[in-house]
Symmetry: C2
Subunit: 162 residues, 2 copies
Amino acid sequence: MSRLDSFIRRLEAQRACLDHAAELIGGLDGVVLELGLGNGRTYDHLRSLFPGREIYVCERAVAAHPDCVPPAERLILGDMRDTLPILRARLGGQVALAHLDAGSGDAEANRSLAAALTPLLMPLLFRGAVLVSDPEIACADLAPLPLPDGVPPGRYHLYRRL
Amino acid sequence: MSRLDSFIRRLEAQRACLDHAAELIGGLDGVVLELGLGNGRTYDHLRSLFPGREIYVCERAVAAHPDCVPPAERLILGDMRDTLPILRARLGGQVALAHLDAGSGDAEANRSLAAALTPLLMPLLFRGAVLVSDPEIACADLAPLPLPDGVPPGRYHLYRRL
């Protein structure tokens, strides 16, 4: 399998999980939180999935397509290890869906970052909220959810906040 | 349609066209030429499709994953408007398949670059060679080929050198 093949598979899995998560939180109020803006493609997808919800985005420094930059009042700039604790006063217990795809092409570094962010993220999610994540996350407050059709175990990750 | 959707569709079309082109040149000798290395994903895909062929890559400056950098003797560094004419002495009439996906996210700039490169590329392709291109190309020496199943007209481009 080439890097092109595996990249396509990852993006297809990412999209399938986001689409599935949108169904899962369909009956729940709450805001959406994107952890890592990157080029803005998944933020744009979240916008299309959630036209009626506020979407907050955490990012160290914006490098996205100009069309995919969130409004300033919902863009939280800085290292997420610093900004997530501050965000608690504003969004504590109000997030229905978070998506974590931060970091680099280095899978080990991404898992390490996710492990550091998870305890800072938990207070923002209400009980029953959904977390979609590229890296696997081990956390007693998160229960793995079944993946949508066509996404094999481990390719992308879905959790329910307990 | 979100940017994530359209990006996935573009990558799927790109892969389908490269796979199809590999079948089309299956009975032909000749080398492969990648115009634009980028992150190296399509180069890696070409390597998987053509384990027995020499693959030459033109790129201004290498920014690919270290695993996806071609050997120095088949990496032609520099602006392609300068390097393609020089390459003629080495590869003139020897290329069976070229893939053009150079430039940026700016479609108009990509078409303009493709128009500048096409006359420089033609002497490298032998008659019957296949050109796979992201931008559409108008050239009297190129005949459009049918796209593979699932790729609608205009999403990616396939040509036969006349």
